[in-house]
């Protein structure tokens, strides 16, 4: 038996060495190619720019040679193509260098017929053997590689482009390879061996999310490779790998082996904040793919409305400081504005608007060229397939066509007038420009729709709001909407911005996001129905991947109905909801402790053990930080409820501790202070939660906040209390 194992080890070692030698050879060749390309590029630049283009540029204006410009543009194009080739070689080098570190991580032996067994090595990227013309390493995204993630030894199958292929999985082997060294390997019958996973998870957190191709679980793989649903929703417990799934899914959708792979510009990730954006930014490059566009809801709304919008963090900050009654009012108003009923009201407003547009006759040279009735009837046109804004722009075009037809005669009239007054041609033209300018301004008042102004106007006109909202909203609710209108001198509150953007999208179309074919929404529970209504109108042709956890919503109440609401709002074909109930992040002790804040919830946990979470008096903070440092933790987060709390703590803590404040651009590392909303989606080696007193965490709604804060910790958790400990910390805390 021992002899057999040695033989296997020898075979694997030889195979590993052969692969490494091939990669080294390829790398050397690629480096030489790159150098040659670079030399060629430098020569081209010198020849083209110094010897030919420069004189051409110098003489361009003097000689008035338009052809030179065309020639010059061709030279630039050639240089750009050479540069592109060089970039592609550099990418290949980078990919081979990564492969040199870890060429593959798994092997599966598949038997298709009795005598036909294939050894398949799986890595982050494929490696082709030119001589034997076969794949030495399969990309983890290849259909065949799905067998590794989904099956234990025995019968298996995978979906190839030609259809389902049945096979038998006779061997499943996982390798530990790091820095170009084969450390070891083991054979596993189960899907991914838990001990291997535990060892990987016991490592320290990094400041950037890592790829997890080696440890993707069966249900995670199903979500990553799903191509059958236009709306894929994933409800996952804290630490279940939702965001990892989303990122690996993006990489999968860009895999060139697919029938219609997506390009980077086809994909958009909607992320909760810029810290999170930074955190996930390295995953795709690590998987060998280009970065994709990432945007926050606030940024998207700002772009749509061309107006500053309050950030989620600023809103959290502002509302945390409000007295309870005002906070409740704000929450009520926000819930109203974000509800499907309010988007219905905006739909009615969009339909009501054409008949009530403020407009007057438009005249040119004393003649009415477009009457008020004509404007209204075009705006109202029920048969038109264009939205109102487009119809009005068409109307403006029609207006100028009529003016052009009249212009010559009008200019003659003005010339006569100027002549009589003793002026010349310039005077007549000046009057014509003035007249046209006045008409243009008048026309634009009618034809250029400003959705934000219209939205503000709607809230400022109770009679309209009451007419459109009758039977849907109570009088009290409508009063609340009109009484608390957004201040025009402050950034627009997020909920108002979403409503105004929805109105704009109902009245216009085409907003520069049209090429997106896949939209990934992370932290789905933090978006409102109105946000989803905006996404629905903004990305009419996109498929959606929506991941979230209803237990981690910070501001709004979220329950199981969230996904039904998302599905109803996005209205995509074949919606599906997958649930991931196993947490991989925290130790068993931390997860069990965290679950005291979510009574009745059961979350499965990978059996990784660690120290018990502690509730400590503040005087223990120094000792705890020292203990974390002594344990070698690389990221120790001191989590405060708000940014101002975190700032206050920063001022209180000894300067020599060098505790940084996590902000929009701060790097994670060492010991740092972080406001809770910015911690969402992140993980730290240790989480030390500050201010666990009644004032900060006294309401039943704060349970979710504590759950979110506690589940950020991978290895160590401590909660620090003041004199008035939060009642929620008690194990049997009463809950509604």
């Amino acid at each position: 038996m021992e002899e057999k194992e040695t033989l296997i080890q020898l075979e694997e070692r030889q195979h590993f060495d052969a692969i490494m030698a091939l990669i080294a050879k390829r790398l050397e060749a690629a480096k030489q190619e790159s150098e040659a390309q670079l030399r060629g590029l430098q020569d081209t630049r010198r020849d083209e720019f110094t010897e030919r283009s420069e004189p051409m540029l110098k003489n361009l204006w003097a000689a008035h040679r338009f052809e030179d410009l065309v020639h010059l543009s061709q030279e630039f194009q050639n240089a750009a193509e050479e540069e592109k080739d060089h970039e592609s070689t550099l990418q290949r080098i980078s990919s081979l260098q990564k492969a040199q570190s870890t060429p593959y991580f798994a092997r599966i032996d598949l038997t298709f017929d009795e005598d036909d067994t294939e050894m398949i090595y799986i890595g982050r990227r494929s490696l082709w053997d030119d001589e034997k013309e076969n794949l030495l390493i399969y990309d983890w995204r290849a259909p065949l590689a799905s067998v590794f993630y989904r099956f234990g030894t025995g019968k298996a199958y995978y979906q190839a482009p030609a259809g389902r292929i049945d096979c038998a999985l006779t061997l499943k082997r996982q390798f530990e390879i790091a820095s170009g060294r084969l450390i070891g390997f083991f054979d596993a019958d189960t899907v991914i061996q838990d001990s291997f996973l535990r060892r990987l998870l016991a490592q320290n957190a990094s400041s950037q999310m890592k790829a997890i191709v080696e440890t993707i679980q069966r249900d995670q793989d199903a979500a990553i490779r799903d191509e059958n649903h236009d709306l894929l929703m994933v409800q996952g417990a804290a630490g279940s790998g939702k965001t990892s799934i989303a990122m690996h899914r993006v990489a999968y959708l860009m895999y060139e082996g697919l029938k219609s792979p997506l390009k980077a510009h086809h994909i958009l990730i909607l992320s909760p904040n810029t810290v999170f954006e930074k955190y996930i930014s390295s995953v795709l490059p690590e998987l060998g793919e280009s970065r994709v566009d990432t945007i926050t809801m606030e940024q998207m709304l700002e772009e749509l409305l061309e107006s500053p919008v309050q950030s989620r963090l600023d809103r959290w900050e502002e509302e945390s400081a409000l007295p309870e009654n005002m906070k409740a009012q704000r929450e009520k108003r926000r819930a109203l504005l974000s509800s499907p009923a309010f988007s219905g009201l905006l739909d009615r407003f969009a339909a009501w608007l054409p008949a009530h547009l403020p407009c007057a006759d438009l005249s040119y040279g004393g003649r009415v060229v477009m009457s008020r009735e004509e404007i209204r009837s075009t705006a109202r046109d029920p048969g038109s397939r264009f939205p109102l804004a487009v119809r009005l722009r068409q109307l403006e075009d029609a207006l100028w066509e009529r003016v052009h037809a009249l212009r010559k005669a009008r200019l003659d009239e003005l010339r006569m007038l100027a002549f009589r007054l003793g002026h010349g041609e310039e005077y007549a033209r000046g009057v014509s420009i003035w007249e046209s300018g006045v008409l243009a301004k008048e026309a634009k008042k009618v034809t250029r729709i400003n959705a934000l102004s219209l939205y503000r106007e709607l809230l400022a006109r109770p009679e309209v709001l009451f007419t459109l909202g009758r039977g849907v909203f109570s009088r009290e609710e409508l009063c609340l909407l009109t009484a608390r209108r957004p201040d025009p001198y402050l950034p627009l509150p997020l909920e108002d911005a979403a409503a105004a953007a929805y109105l704009k999208l109902r009245l216009t179309f085409g907003h520069g996001f049209g090429d997106k074919r896949q939209v990934v929404v992370d932290e789905a529970q933090d978006y409102t129905p109105m946000d989803y209504a905006v996404l629905n109108l903004l990305f009419p042709k996109a498929r959606f991947t929506v991941v979230g956890d209803i237990h981690q919503s910070l501001e709004q109440k979220a329950d199981e109905s969230l996904y039904a609401c998302i599905s109803d709002t996005l209205r995509r074909k074949n919606p599906v909801l997958l649930t991931l109930n196993k947490s991989f992040r925290c130790t068993r002790e931390i997860l069990e402790f965290s679950l005291r804040f979510l009574p009745g919830q059961a979350i499965e946990c990978l059996n990784r053990s660690g120290s018990e979470p502690k509730i400590l008096p503040l005087s223990e903070l120094t000792n705890e930080i020292e203990a974390c440092r002594a344990a070698g933790y690389e990221s120790v987060a001191l989590i405060a409820k708000t940014r101002s709390d975190a700032e206050a703590w920063q001022a209180r803590l000894p300067r020599e501790w060098n505790v940084k404040l996590m902000g929009r651009s701060a790097r994670l590392g060492s010991v740092f202070l972080a406001p809770l909303p910015l911690c969402k989606g992140l993980e730290f080696d240790a989480a030390l939660i500050l201010d666990c007193d009644r004032a900060h965490y006294g309401r039943q709604e704060d349970r979710k906040l504590l759950y979110v804060a506690c589940t950020r910790a991978l290895h160590r958790l401590a909660l620090f209390t003041g004199e008035d400990e939060s009642p929620l910390l008690q194990k049997e805390a009463p809950h509604a």
């Binding site: 008035h64 338009f66 100028w400 041609e425 009057v431 420009i433 003035w434 007249e435 300018g437």
Partner: protein
Amino acid sequence: MRKIYQAVSQIMGDVLGLSPDEITPDSLAPERYQEMAAAAIACEKTFHIELEDERIADLKTIADWAEYVQARLSIRDGRYLPPTDEDREKWR
């Protein structure tokens, strides 16, 4: 575009009585309709195009003017026409 910008600057210089070096993007103040008219007439003659008065009223800087002239040149006869020798002669 640079060529058009230079030509438009020259025209503005003539209209405003400034040398091209003294021209700044906002040399032409808005709502000075006489100067706008003079510039428009000169541009039309120079580039063989027709400028629309409602658009002229909106132009605020020399760059706006150059961009508008470029746009009008690009849609002459509904297609892009490179300048003819005759045009070039006029620009000299």
